[in-house]
């Protein structure tokens, strides 16, 4: 019996007996050891989407792309002027749990190559991070808190270390904390690229006899089986999996970006793909499969870091900073010249063949010969079982008046100092936010990052938002809310929400409750994306996010792209001192939980995670975005900031810190709900006149607008139902500006 046929071998690679038997049936013979490895990575959830595929077909654009051949074009948004934007999110959760610096760094590197492979120059990076508590919460052991801080610190350093060096500005992001992330932090990296729409590349190999060229760093024994690792749960043996984590070389990546873009300009390249998850396997198999051709690969020619590498190791290594290209026969020299000038490997390792098989040889022996379609199109698809948990039904009965009574003065200060809400300056100052000199709204200055790419007057607005608290309590609404929140953020920067990329982080799809969370959240995202006119153009699914501490909260992250017709019309969050303030609201069904269900107020101030988040009005959110964009364009308003975590009080405090002083009067007779209720669609706008025009425009969009106060005085004063609450500037500052660096700076 050969090694490959032994159950302990294929199960250790992550394959089930059913899957193994299917492989034998498809091949009509037993697989070789190398073939088995190739199947195991291509059929992992990370590459094969075997549990998520049926649900992801809810995304119309995905479905179109999966069924047709427009996969490449599907991921590009045409912004006019011959330019397009491409963007994608990728998770690197498991590697970051084991080796936070390299895990995060290679996450950034990987997503940059995903963008580069489209022929786009990467122009911005964002990230969405989740960790366990980083300060004592009365429940978490100090050892775990210290570990969480260590992970947070080194993930941020890894993102900066890679992104800063590679010269792609990290322009935005978010960080959240919850005890359930202690064993399994989340690190999702997003990259945005700019391309000329006439120059979109393809990954489909073609042209029998065309040379296949290996580009970039040498292959080592690192990251073998990374994709399988990503599709498994974390346990006590995490540390033993360190060899599964890849090591990043941002310097090589910078050369790879320049060399790839320059080589593409020569016109000598037929097709190109990055070597990401599953390395040489994925790139050869997918390029051959997409082009319906065969490919012969001589592994002896692959640049290696160690000579004694077996075919299996070469095919499964996830060494970083590598690409695979097919060139026009006879023009390969042009590609090699460019890469050699940039100091990178460029070696012809094979050619496109007519036999429809990917044939891999090592030392003259055929180690794998397989129809690539078996690997890409025959991955079994499983229909997960959905089970609504009891807690979901119980949460409907949440009564906000049962929340403990807390002095609003203290409550706001507590919210402003909570790590998930507080100023993230400690994080984003470690990122180069400005390299490429196209960033025109920096982190903290606008509700989304805004870039003004050279070559167009248009502006690009980008954000990434997740909301595990809301999705935990009501996955369907959580999915919707994640989309409308992201859309609202780009609209508050003056941009029309245009497209979505998502990072879907969930527990095991074999757990019916987790799968229900996943399916419901995706339904919510699909509904909202459809209603907002923002198609989901790309995304990533990360399952099996659980550890011995349990499953993570369901965490969909929404990356949103907005377009501003004229970049100079973008809006900051705060108006100049002296401006008038208005609250714009989306009319929606009244919320029985008063905006306090699943709220930051309930969780952070009261220690209660209960109730439902308010259901957003999708139609109203679309109208709100139109209002904000038009008001910005007509210069009726000078700032916009939405109320999200912590409600209007937090939003107003953030403005007061920018303007120096603010007085506002909020409607309603329940101060807790008025101050801290999270009603979707609440936006505070600033203006220096134009009251009538603002009102007329809002009415024409079916929105309500009310004058709530002025950016004046010193400190923050909010009146509600006849009561007045005051905070002075120094206490707001102490809570909001310094909380994170106090926690993270060693004393």
């Amino acid at each position: 019996m050969s090694l490959a046929t032994q159950p302990e071998v294929y199960t250790s690679m992550g394959l089930t007996t059913f899957e193994y038997e299917l492989i034998v049936k498809l091949l009509g013979r037993e697989p070789t050891y190398t073939e088995l490895g190739m199947f195991s990575v291509m059929w992992s959830e990370h590459c094969g989407y075997k549990y998520s595929r049926p649900i992801l077909s809810l995304f119309a654009k995905y479905k179109e792309a999966m069924e047709g051949d427009g996969l490449e074009n599907a991921g590009v948004v045409d912004i006019g002027d011959g330019l397009g934007i491409t963007m994608k999110v990728e998770s690197h959760n498991h590697p970051s749990a084991v080796e936070p610096y390299q895990g995060a760094a290679t996450g950034v590197g990987g997503i940059i190559r995903d963008i580069l492979t489209m022929g786009a120059r990467p122009i911005a990076g964002l990230n969405s991070l989740r960790f366990g508590p980083i300060e004592p919460d009365g429940k978490t052991d100090q050892v775990i808190i210290d570990r969480n801080k260590f992970l947070f610190e080194h993930v941020v350093q890894g993102i900066g270390g890679y992104g800063n060096c590679v010269g792609v500005p990290t322009v935005g992001g978010e960080v959240g904390f919850h005890p359930k992330y202690s064993g399994n932090p989340l690190v999702n990296a997003m990259c945005v690229g700019l391309l000329e729409t006439s120059k979109i590349t393809t990954a489909a190999a073609s042209g029998v006899g065309n040379p296949v060229i290996y580009l970039g760093s040498s292959t080592g024994k690192d990251g073998i089986h990374g994709a399988t690792f990503a599709s498994d749960a974390l346990d006590d043996n995490n540390q033993a999996k360190r060899p599964n984590v890849q090591i990043g070389d941002p310097f090589a990546e910078k050369q790879l970006i320049e060399a790839t873009l320059e080589a593409l300009e020569t016109g000598a390249i037929v097709a190109i793909q990055d070597m990401g998850a599953a390395g040489l396997t994925c790139s050869t198999v997918e390029m051959a499969s997409k082009g319906a051709v065969g490919m012969s690969i001589n592994l002896d020619k692959v640049p290696m870091r160690e000579r004694d590498m077996a075919a299996y190791e070469l095919m499964l290594s996830e060494s970083q900073e590598r690409m695979l290209a097919v060139a026009h026969k006879g023009r390969e020299g042009e590609v090699l010249e460019v890469f050699h000038r940039w100091g990178l490997n460029a070696v012809v390792i094979g050619e496109v063949t007519a036999d429809g098989q990917v044939t891999v040889t090592r030392f003259g022996k055929v180690e794998a010969k397989v129809d690539p379609k078996l690997l890409t199109d025959h991955c079994p698809v499983y229909q997960g079982v959905e089970e609504e948990p009891d807690s979901f039904r119980k949460a409907a009965a949440f009564n906000p008046s049962n929340l403990p009574n807390v002095d609003p003065h203290q409550a706001l200060l507590k919210l402003l100092g909570a790590p998930e809400i507080t100023n993230k300056r400690w994080v984003y100052e470690q990122y180069d936010t400005q390299v490429q000199t196209q960033t025109i709204e920096l982190p903290g200055d606008s509700d989304a990052a805004v870039l003004a790419p050279r070559g167009t007057k248009k502006g690009i607005s980008v954000t990434i938002d997740g909301n595990e608290r809301l999705t935990t309590q009501h996955p369907r609404r959580g999915g919707r809310l994640a989309v409308v929140e992201a859309a609202r953020n780009v609209a508050c920067s003056g941009a029309m929400p245009t497209a979505v990329t998502d990072g879907l982080n969930f527990g095991s799809p074999q757990n019916p409750v987790s799968f229900w969370q996943f399916a419901e959240a995706v339904r919510g995202i699909a509904e909202a994306a459809e209603a907002m006119g923002t198609p989901v153009i790309s995304g990533n699914v990360s399952f099996y996010n659980h550890s011995d501490l349990g499953e993570i909260p369901p965490t969909p992250m929404i990356g949103m792209l907005g377009v501003i017709e004229n970049a100079v019309d973008r809006l900051p969050i705060a108006p100049p001192a002296g401006s008038e303030l208005y609250l714009v609201q989306v009319p929606s069904e009244s919320d029985p939980h008063l905006g306090l269900g699943a709220s930051a107020y309930a969780a952070v101030v009261c220690g209660v995670e209960d109730g439902y988040p308010a259901n957003p009005s999708l139609k109203g959110e679309k109208a709100l975005a139109e209002f904000l964009v038009e008001a910005a364009k007509r210069k009726l308003i000078v700032s916009a900031h939405d109320s999200s975590q912590g409600g209007p009080a937090v939003a107003l405090a953030e403005l007061a810190l920018k303007t120096g002083g603010l007085n506002a009067e909020l409607a309603g007779n329940n101060p807790t709900s008025a101050l801290f209720g999270e009603i979707p669609g609440d936006v505070v706008i600033g203006a220096t006149g134009n009251a009538e025009e603002i009102e007329t425009l809002a009415k024409s969009k079916g929105l309500s607008v009310s004058h709530i106060g002025k950016a004046s005085g010193s400190g923050l004063t909010i009146g509600v139902g006849g009561k007045s609450f005051k905070w002075n500037l120094s206490e707001l500052k102490e809570s909001y500006e310094n909380a994170l660096s106090k926690i993270m700076t060693p004393h």
Binding site: Q430, Q434, T437, L442, T745
Partner: protein, 228 residues
């Protein structure tokens, strides 16, 4: 005036430098590190970034690139040589400027706006500066250090170009001199005043859209310089 923007592998503020110069009507073109001639150029711009990945020591590898012989010749001949961020590190590593750039005080990369006062008033780079400048930094190793004698000489001979100063609301030195540079030095000149190395990025502050135009006060100075 035609400026050579020198590219090393890993330079990543090269295009920012090029476009900021072209944006104010200064002719600028790239020169590759392996070139041996700066013929046809009047000045040199050494951009920021991570030349050679900063893997050995910031700027150490780039300082030994073929083009640096020409850069040294330009420095000696009194032509303009302008090194920003990693470019400043390259100038120190090549011995064209004294001192060294060490890891930031808190050992973390920092990207934020800082405030600069000119100290020297006569160099081409500083003569056009009329106010406290608000310009960003973006570096992990920007703490300028030099031995006592060198510092004394720099201060005494007016070779400190820019010093970090407190901006609005900043009180402690750690806030306004965040990398912990000796004497809060942000940029220095060679004795002739034709070579400037500085950590902050004036090329990032060249338009209202980008958030500040203060960098122009330094870049415009290049326009005032006649062809050497």
């Amino acid at each position: 005036m035609r400026v050579a923007v020198v590219r090393f592998p890993g330079s990543n503020c090269d295009q920012d430098g090029l476009y900021s110069l072209r944006g104010i009507g200064i002719q600028a073109d790239y020169v590759w590190q392996d070139d041996h001639s700066l013929k046809g150029f009047d000045a040199v711009w050494i951009p920021g970034g991570f030349s050679y990945g900063d893997y050995l020591r910031c700027g150490a590898m780039a300082a030994r690139a073929p083009i640096m012989d020409e850069v040294k010749r330009f420095a000696d001949e009194g032509r303009i040589v302008f090194g920003i961020c990693n470019g400043f590190q390259v100038l120190c590593e090549s011995g064209i400027l004294p001192g060294a750039l060490m890891g930031n005080l808190r050992q973390k990369f920092l990207c934020r706006y800082v405030h600069l006062d000119r100290v020297n008033t006569t160099s081409p780079f500083t003569q056009g500066v009329t106010k406290t400048l608000r310009i960003p930094i973006a570096h992990g190793e920007g703490r300028y250090v030099a031995d006592k004698d060198t510092l004394k000489r720099l201060e005494g001979e007016g070779l400190v170009a820019f010093r970090y100063v407190a901006g609005p609301g900043e009180t402690s030195e750690e806030e306004f001199n965040p990398n912990g540079s000796d004497n809060a030095i942000a940029g220095i000149l060679n004795p002739k005043g034709n070579v400037l190395g500085m950590m902050p990025h004036p090329e990032r502050s060249v338009s209202e859209t980008l958030g500040s135009t203060d960098g122009l006060q330094i870049l415009q100075a290049l326009k005032l310089v006649g062809v050497a």
